[in-house]
């Protein structure tokens, strides 16, 4: 066992998978340059030396290198691609959605695209174009799996599962959760370290995780919001409200079994999402809950999400944009009183 942050856990996951399977390689910008940073968030630091020729630095060309990852995956390799900021996925979405996600179907099942695309998301003081929550744009795309990791344990286990999966898998990571230290520390970062087992493990790509048990209200979140939801639950507990906190984690598909089991206990649910409320993943979860477990619902589903605005730079507005613990507490409190 060792305590690690998400960046380290991802790095170990990649290292172990590359050692295990020579078909695995990494592709992206600034991921292996000697003297560089191992990608924008140090995840691939040191790997180029360990795996010569298998950490591929690309030009700044997201559409191109994503398509290259798709092509390499089709031919039997298992690429782990990454964009430096999730916002750049818009440049690559044609290859992800029109090719990676569809080629299996279009070919009548002849093609497999076992690739992973990693993308850091979240508002972190960088302004509108390095801040978006991109999950909404890929959740529900047929042929893609989508997960979002909020702990180092999950980061390692889900990345490994993704590498071994025969389908394209998008992994969203949050900039405030990497556990970057020293010169690269992020203001507002949250501790997402875990005890990491020494032995190999995977975390399934289709299961939510109950982070805290409770019986009065269920709070759903992922990435940074999973942490905020737990913090909110602690505060609610002091008032006698026992919140069950679920890290949704698997965004496509969504694990309605785990969510439904919780709702049958609590009857009430708050979904917390970083990102504009309209059209977010929480809309899908709310609609899905209505379809899958309406009978358990004792009150309408509540969404706590960002304002319907681009992400502002100035910290005072960015903090107002991002759902925070007090807003979650307040929403849960009101819902329980409903």
């Amino acid at each position: 066992m060792k305590r690690q942050g998400i960046a380290e856990a991802l790095r170990d996951a990649i290292t172990e998978e590359m050692a295990r399977d020579t078909r695995v390689f990494c592709i992206g910008e600034d991921i292996g340059v000697p003297g560089g940073w191992g990608g924008a968030f140090t995840v691939t630091l040191g790997l180029a030396e360990k795996f010569p020729g298998r950490i591929i630095d690309t030009p700044i060309a997201e559409l191109g290198f994503t398509g290259i990852a798709v092509g390499a995956a089709m031919m039997g390799l298992r690429p782990i691609a990454d964009v430096q900021y999730g916002d750049f996925l818009f440049l690559a979405s044609d290859q992800l959605i029109n090719n990676a996600a569809k080629l299996r179907y279009m070919s009548g099942g002849a093609i497999k695209v076992p690739m992973v695309m990693r993308a850091p998301v979240g508002a972190t003081g960088r302004g509108s174009q390095h801040a978006q929550s991109m999950e909404r744009y890929f959740t529900g795309v047929p042929g893609l799996k989508v997960v979002a990791v909020s702990t180092a344990f999950d980061a390692k286990g889900m990345l490994k599962a993704a590498v071994r999966d025969d389908n394209p898998v998008m992994i969203f990571e949050h900039k405030l959760l990497y556990g970057s230290k020293g010169a690269r520390a992020e203001p507002g970062a949250v501790d997402a370290t875990s005890e990491i087992p020494d032995e190999d493990y995977v975390v399934p790509l289709d299961r939510a995780a109950v982070r805290r048990e409770g019986r009065h209200v269920t709070i759903l979140g992922w990435l940074l919001m999973a942490h905020f939801a737990r913090q909110a639950a602690e505060i609610l507990a002091q008032e006698g409200i026992e919140a069950e906190v679920i890290d949704v984690r698997s965004l496509s598909p969504i694990d309605y079994e785990t969510i439904g089991a919780s709702l049958r206990k609590t009857g009430r649910v708050v979904i917390v999402e970083e990102g504009p409320k309209t059209g977010g993943v929480s809309a899908e979860i709310a609609a899905g809950i209505m379809e899958n477990c309406a009978d358990a619902l004792m009150a309408p589903v509540v969404r706590v999400a960002s304002a319907d605005v681009p992400v502002p730079f100035t910290p005072v507005l960015e903090n107002a944009y991002r759902p925070d613990v007090p807003r979650i507490v307040e929403a849960a409190r009101q819902l329980v009183q409903h």
Partner: protein
């Protein structure tokens, strides 16, 4: 646009080449032409569903390039992929079945005309997003290179695709990593209705290669042996790790861009000039300069081809459609 091929000597000479090989090329050219004509008829007649993008007049590009490839080499293609498919060895039947939406089609009826392909025959289903197949091809070639497999990819696209960012990004990465891709630009002078000179100030596509630091070549795309020669050289370079290569094959689309397009945007004299350079007629004339090839031989080839298509169409019309349960299969592996 004056097609020139560099060097002009084809790798295979029509006079000294192997007769059966040369006749096989002829058969492929005729097969593509007849297949496309029949498909057009079936579409206009209303018996065949979907939409169509056809390649009459461009047969020599597909045939010449694919003849330079090995069975385990791959091609990527476009919405206009019937010719590429036939040249790469897909069967008439699996293609017709696909066009009729049958579950026996090469993509189980899920692909259709624009996504014709068969991985076992080395053809990725056509990518109908213009330019979208270019990074894919580079990625396939990257896999070959990383795994030291001796394969190459021939990546077909049109002159119109050259304007897409995907071309720029994909070709550049292939260049910097010396990937084994033969980029095959079928320059038929038009992207849909738009003439190439409206969208490129320098319409010599092969010139682009130099700015990415690799070799480009313009070839008479209506001369199947010239194409074959250029493609063989290019594939050999790729296999030796000296790829990629950009081949610009000058050709012309005799038919509409899609469906019922009447090509009113093509000038009459331009059409006539190019029609006079029909790749099949030209090759037939070349073949007939041999003492061992007669008009009757060529007619026999055509008859055989038509028979195969006739039979295929009959079968395709009765081929089984997928059941509705097929809707949700093949999404995830």
């Amino acid at each position: 646009m004056n097609p020139t091929s560099t060097p002009s000597t084809p790798a295979v000479s029509v006079l000294t080449g192997d007769r059966s090989f040369l006749l096989r090329l002829y058969e492929q050219l005729v097969l593509i032409r007849e297949f496309e004509e029949r498909v057009k008829f079936l579409f206009l007649e209303g018996t065949m569903p979907g939409t169509i993008h056809q390649c009459q007049g461009q047969e020599a590009t597909a045939v010449g390039v694919c003849a330079a490839l090995r069975a385990d080499d791959y091609i990527t293609s476009t919405f206009r992929g019937h010719g590429h498919a036939l040249a790469k060895g897909l069967g008439v039947q699996e293609m017709l079945d696909e066009l009729f939406g049958a579950v026996t089609g090469c993509c189980k009826g899920k692909g259709g005309s624009m996504h014709m392909g068969n991985m076992d025959k080395g053809m990725v289903p056509g990518i109908a997003i213009v330019g979208g197949g270019i990074p894919l091809a580079a990625g396939m070639a990257l896999a070959f290179k990383m795994q030291r497999r001796p394969q190459v990819v021939a990546c077909f696209f049109g002159d119109g695709a050259v304007a897409e960012g995907a071309f720029h990004e994909g070709v550049n990465m292939a260049a910097i990593w010396n990937l084994p891709v033969v980029f095959v630009c079928e320059n038929n002078l038009y992207g849909a209705s738009t003439r190439i000179d409206k969208v490129m100030k320098n319409p010599r596509v092969s010139d682009r290669a130099a700015s990415y630091g690799f070799r480009g070549e313009t070839v008479d795309g209506n001369d199947v042996l010239a194409v074959l020669g250029a493609a063989r050289r290019a594939a050999a370079e790729c296999r030796e790790g000296q790829g990629p290569v950009l081949l610009e094959l000058l050709t012309y689309r005799r038919t509409g861009h899609s469906r019922r397009d009447a090509c009113h945007y093509q000038a009459k004299d331009e059409r006539e000039a190019w029609f006079a350079r029909d790749p099949i007629e030209r090759y037939a004339a070349q073949l007939l300069t041999r003492s061992d090839v007669t008009l009757a031989d060529l007619a026999a080839v055509k008859a055989r081809v038509i028979q195969e298509i006739d039979a295929g169409v009959e079968r395709a019309k009765r081929a089984p459609q997928p059941t509705v349960a097929e809707l949700t299969t093949d999404v995830l592996a």
